[in-house]
C-alpha cells in the first residue's frame, strides 16, 4: 500500500532524472553510480515507476549538489543512445534553438 506521503509517480516509458547543478545551474543527469553528469549519455535509465521514484529520492537527497530534480522521458535508440524525450529536454540537453545574432 502506498503511503499518503509518498509522491505519486507514473512513467510510461524509459525515463531519467535531471536537475540543475547548484553552484552554476548547469543541466545535470543522475547517473547509475549515484552521482551527476552533464552528459545525457551518462544518465541512469529507469523503466518502472518504482525505479523512477527511487532514483528521484536519491537525487533529491543531494540538496547541496543539485536543485529541482525531476523525472523526464527519454528515447532509447539502437545501440543504446539516449535521446531527450520531449522538446523541453531537447533544449536543455542541446542548448538554444535560436541564433543569438541577427541573421
Amino acid at each position: 500500500m502506498t503511503s499518503p506521503l509518498q509522491q505519486k509517480i507514473k512513467i510510461t516509458g524509459p525515463s531519467m532524472v535531471t536537475a540543475n547543478r547548484t553552484s552554476d545551474g548547469v543541466v545535470i543527469y543522475r547517473t547509475a553510480q549515484q552521482g551527476w553528469s552533464a552528459s545525457l549519455s551518462d544518465a541512469a535509465i529507469v523503466r518502472t515507476s518504482d525505479e523512477a521514484r527511487a532514483l528521484l529520492n536519491e537525487a533529491n537527497a543531494d540538496d547541496v549538489g543539485a536543485i529541482g530534480a525531476y523525472i523526464a522521458p527519454v528515447e532509447l535508440k539502437e545501440g543504446g543512445e539516449i535521446k531527450p524525450g520531449n522538446l523541453r529536454e531537447h533544449i536543455r540537453s542541446k542548448g538554444l534553438t535560436i541564433d543569438l545574432l541577427p541573421a
Binding site: V27, L87, T97, D99, A103
Partner: protein
C-alpha cells in the same frame, strides 16, 4: 537622472553583503534549497532551463551611461556577453553562476543598481513612461512619483509577503506608453478642474491566465495623498487577497470577485481609518525627491538645424528619422528610440559591446542618459536635432538603427521555451522568422503601426493579450501550437485581443500572420486605418475566414 543618497547606497551595499553570506551558506550546505529559494528570489535570482537567471531592476526605465556600462560589464564578466531587456523595464542575464552572483551584485551596487524585489510576492519595479520628463504635453515628470513609491515600498515589511506579486505603472501623458491598464495599480497623472495635480487610480489590471483591464477606482487622488491611498489598496488586498490558490491570488481576482464598487468601498473605509497614516506627503518631501532628479542644461537650439536639412536628402536617414525620432518638449531636441529588434535577432537582446557603445553615445549625444521601454527597446531622451545624422551613423554601425519602431517587426517576445522553465513553447524563433518575413522596410511602412506580441505560455510575459496580433504558445501532445488573437492593445484604449480560431502548429505561425496582414491590407478602408482599427471595425470574422479557409 535621480541621484541616490547615502541611505540608498547603504541599503544596497548591506543587501549585497547579506546575499553574499546567504549564497556562501547555501553552497556550503548550511541552507537547503527550500530555505534558500525565497532568499534568492528576493534578489532576482530564478532557476531557468539551462542556468540561473538574474533579473536586475531599472527603476522607471532610467539608466545613466555609467550604469549601462556596469550592466555591460556584468554581461561580459559573469554571463555570456549579452542581456535581455524585459517588458517591465528590467534586464535579465541568462547564464549567471550562483557562486558569482554576489560579485555581480557588488559590481552593480557600485553604480546604484540592484535586484531587490524583481521577484517574489512583493512590490515589483515601479515602471513608467520611457519618455517621462521629456515628452511634450506631459503633466509633470511621473518618475518623481515612481521614486516616492519605490522608496516607500522597498523592503516595506507589510508588502514583502503579499498574496502575490504586485506591479505599479505610472504615466503622465495622454498617450499611455506605460501600459497602466494591465497593471495591478495604474496611475495616470493629470490635473483636476482646479488645476491641482493628482492621479486617476486604476486597479485590478493584469494579463496571465486570467486577463483583466484595470478599472478606475478613483478618478482623482491629490498627489500628496497618493502614498496613503496606494497603501490602503494594498492593505485591503493583503487582508482579503487569496493565499490558498496561486492562480487566484492577484489583486485582479479580488477586484473581480468583489466588484469594483465594493472593493472601492473597502479601500475608502481603510483610507478613512488610516486618516493619512503618517503618509500624507508634505510639499517639502515631494520637492526633496523632485530636487534629486537632475535635468540637462538644454541649449537654445533652432527647430530645424542646417545639419538636419542636409541629412534629409539621404533617404535612409529620413526613413530612420521618421520612424525612430520623436518630438521633445524642448525645441531643438528629440527623443530617439533605439530598436533592439534587428531582423533575425532575439527581441530585446543587447550585447555587452552594444551596451558600452550606447553608453558612449549617450555621453556624447544625450547628456549621459538612456531609457528602457516596456516594448523592449532603448531610447536616448535628449538628443539635439543637429546631432541626429551623426547619431544615426553611429547607431547603424552597432546594429541599433533598424527603422522598425512600432512596425510589424518591432515584436515584443518573452524568452519562451529556449530559456524559461515555465514556457510551453518557443517565442524567440517565431519572432525571428516573422522579422525575416517582413524584413522589407517599404512593406513594413506600408503596413503601418502593428504590434505583434508573443508569449511562450499563459503567464503572458510577452503581453500577447494586448498585442494587435497576439501569439500564445501552448503544448498539445508534446508539440508546440500557437493561439492567435487580434485586436488587442495596451495603450489608453487598452483591450484584450479576440481569439481567431484553433491553435496552429509551429511551422504555420509565420504563414498565418502573413495571411492576417494580407487580409488587413485588403480590408482597410484607407492606408491610414491602422490594423487594430480595421479589426475593431470589422471584427475577427474576415480574418478568421482568411486564415482557416485553406487550413
Amino acid at each position: 537622472m535621480y541621484a541616490y543618497d547615502e541611505l540608498d547606497r547603504t541599503l544596497i551595499n548591506e543587501r549585497v553583503s547579506e546575499f553574499r553570506d546567504q549564497v556562501k551558506r547555501r553552497l556550503a550546505g548550511e541552507l537547503t534549497e527550500d530555505e534558500f529559494k525565497m532568499l534568492r528570489l528576493q534578489n532576482g535570482v530564478y532557476l531557468q532551463l539551462h542556468a540561473y537567471m538574474f533579473r536586475v531592476a531599472i527603476p522607471y526605465g532610467t539608466l545613466s551611461s555609467k550604469q549601462l556600462r556596469a550592466l555591460a560589464r556584468v554581461a561580459r564578466r559573469y554571463d555570456r556577453g549579452y542581456g535581455h531587456f524585459t517588458t517591465r523595464q528590467n534586464i535579465q542575464f541568462n547564464w549567471i553562476k550562483l557562486a558569482e552572483l554576489p560579485d555581480a551584485l557588488a559590481d552593480l551596487a557600485e553604480v546604484g543598481i540592484h535586484a531587490m524585489q524583481t521577484s517574489g510576492n512583493n512590490m515589483r519595479n515601479v515602471t513608467s513612461d520611457q519618455w517621462a520628463g521629456v515628452a511634450p504635453g506631459e503633466v509633470e515628470d511621473p518618475r518623481i512619483w515612481s521614486e516616492i513609491l519605490r522608496q516607500h515600498t522597498t523592503l516595506h515589511p507589510e508588502f514583502s509577503f503579499l498574496p502575490r506579486k504586485f506591479k505599479i505603472a505610472i504615466t503622465a501623458s495622454e498617450h499611455d506608453r506605460a501600459a497602466i491598464k494591465v497593471h495591478d495599480i495604474g496611475l495616470r497623472l493629470h490635473r483636476n478642474a482646479d488645476g491641482e495635480t493628482g492621479f486617476e487610480v486604476l486597479v485590478g489590471g493584469g494579463l496571465g491566465r486570467t486577463p483583466f483591464i484595470a478599472k478606475t477606482i478613483k478618478p482623482f487622488v491629490p498627489g500628496r495623498d497618493i502614498l496613503s491611498y496606494v497603501e490602503a489598496i494594498l492593505r485591503v488586498y493583503n487582508q482579503y487577497g487569496r493565499r490558498d490558490n496561486i492562480y487566484k491570488a492577484r489583486i485582479k481576482i479580488l477586484v473581480h470577485e468583489l466588484g469594483i464598487e465594493k472593493f472601492a468601498r473597502e479601500v475608502d473605509e481603510e483610507w478613512r481609518q488610516m486618516d493619512g497614516g503618517g503618509l500624507t506627503l508634505d510639499h517639502s518631501v515631494i520637492e526633496e525627491v523632485r530636487s534629486r532628479f537632475s535635468y540637462p542644461a538644454y541649449e537654445k537650439l533652432p527647430h530645424m538645424p542646417d545639419e538636419l536639412k542636409q541629412a534629409a536628402h539621404d533617404p535612409l536617414f529620413e526613413r530612420w528619422r521618421k520612424n525612430s525620432v520623436a518630438p521633445h518638449k524642448v525645441q531643438g531636441y528629440s527623443i530617439v528610440t533605439l530598436s533592439l529588434k534587428p531582423v533575425g535577432g532575439p527581441p530585446g537582446d543587447a550585447t555587452a559591446d552594444q551596451m558600452d557603445a550606447v553608453a558612449d553615445l549617450a555621453d556624447r549625444y544625450s547628456f549621459g542618459e538612456i531609457r528602457v521601454g516596456h516594448e523592449q527597446n532603448l531610447a536616448l531622451p535628449h538628443v539635439a536635432k543637429r546631432d541626429l545624422p551623426q547619431l544615426w551613423k553611429a547607431l547603424d554601425r552597432i546594429g541599433l538603427a533598424t527603422p522598425n519602431v512600432n512596425l510589424v517587426t518591432d515584436i515584443i517576445a518573452c524568452p519562451g521555451l529556449d530559456y524559461c522553465s515555465l514556457a510551453n513553447a518557443r517565442s524567440i524563433p517565431i519572432a525571428q522568422e516573422l522579422t525575416r518575413r517582413f524584413a522589407n522596410h517599404d512593406t513594413a511602412e506600408m503596413i503601418g503601426r502593428l504590434h505583434i506580441n508573443i508569449s511562450g505560455c499563459i503567464n503572458a510575459c510577452g503581453h500577447h493579450h494586448v498585442g494587435h496580433i497576439g501569439i500564445l504558445g501552448v503544448e498539445k501532445n508534446g508539440e508546440e501550437f500557437y493561439q492567435i488573437t487580434i485586436g488587442g492593445r495596451a495603450d489608453e484604449n487598452a483591450q484584450m485581443g479576440a481569439l481567431i480560431g484553433p491553435a496552429v502548429p509551429y511551422a504555420e505561425v509565420a504563414d498565418v500572420i502573413e495571411d492576417i496582414v494580407e487580409a488587413y491590407l485588403a480590408l482597410r478602408d484607407r492606408p491610414e486605418e491602422l490594423f487594430v482599427d480595421t479589426v475593431k471595425r470589422l471584427g475577427v470574422e474576415p480574418f478568421k475566414e482568411r486564415v482557416y479557409a485553406t487550413r
